[in-house]
Symmetry: C2
């Protein structure tokens, strides 16, 4: 049991509160830009560089022609959704004074490979994605249900997937 | 310079061809399901388990209340897009007999934090995503342009982001 809100759930809620105040004072502070640079390593292998972190590797299963050395891109999308939901629950539980004792998100999604393989035109992406949230807390069912709804309504990756996002992909001129 | 199509671009194009034939013969082979399981590690830290691979870590920058130990979820989405595009170029270049000598995809995207922070309701996800593809090959500009258009029309992660995907997120009953 934690006794100070500053360490509840090990979340630095003051930093979040400070950011909220900063964005309220100056809305442009809320305009954030994120980036990644991905380098091909031969075959279906690549690695993604984000800021100064260790590169994140990607490959495809052997059945899809890869060498199965790392999660593939669609699995990475599911992982990103789960990671984003975890931040949402941790942040908003802490803001409500709710202590979380355990949190796990299991995610699955289906992709029909016909479009990717060029067998027919159409949607090549996920047809649906399902997440099951395992959350342990002493909070009431009503508090957890309200927390859950708030997280769903504010999840950056959740909204990215649920909405049609403009994506521009251009060949750089040499 | 490679001399056998089986090793062009280090891509196992026979495996891809075999999969295409298998899906043509039995369309249900193209119905694929992917999964990830994400576990909260306190604060805004989590790790995503995909199959038997090493877990992929996630965190948030300090300005957002995290401890900045790993790429955050929206950066992971951009990385997944780049990794997916790389597979698309490598697979489809190889199928066309085009040798790639270098390939890098730089991606950025903007997120307005107002919705995530609960300051106002609305779209919490990426407002736009831009990718710049640096591709080196001896193929003609026309061949590369055709390859590029084919990759855009068949990219699983690209289509996932550009379309509104049904996402169901439910609290598991204890």
């Amino acid at each position: 049991m934690t006794t100070s809100s500053s360490v509840l759930n090990d979340v630095n809620i003051e930093a979040v509160g400070g950011l909220i105040e900063a964005v309220r004072r100056n809305p442009s502070v809320g305009d954030t830009t994120w980036a990644a640079s991905v380098t091909w390593r031969g075959g279906f292998r690549s690695d993604a560089q984000v800021r100064d972190f260790e590169p994140v590797f990607s490959d495809e299963p052997q059945g899809l022609g890869g060498t199965d050395s790392a999660p593939n891109p669609v699995e990475q999308v599911l992982a990103a959704l789960g990671n984003c939901l975890v931040v949402g629950y941790a942040a908003n539980a802490t803001a409500r004074g709710i202590e979380l004792t355990d949190l796990r998100v299991d995610i699955s999604g289906t992709v029909d490979l016909h479009a990717f393989l060029g067998i027919r035109e159409g949607h090549a992406g996920f047809d649906d994605i399902r997440a099951s949230v395992h959350l342990e807390s002493s909070a009431s069912d009503e508090q957890i249900a309200e927390l859950h709804q708030h997280v769903l309504s504010t999840s950056p990756v959740g909204h990215t997937l649920r909405a049609a996002v403009p994506v521009t992909i251009e060949l750089a001129t040499a």
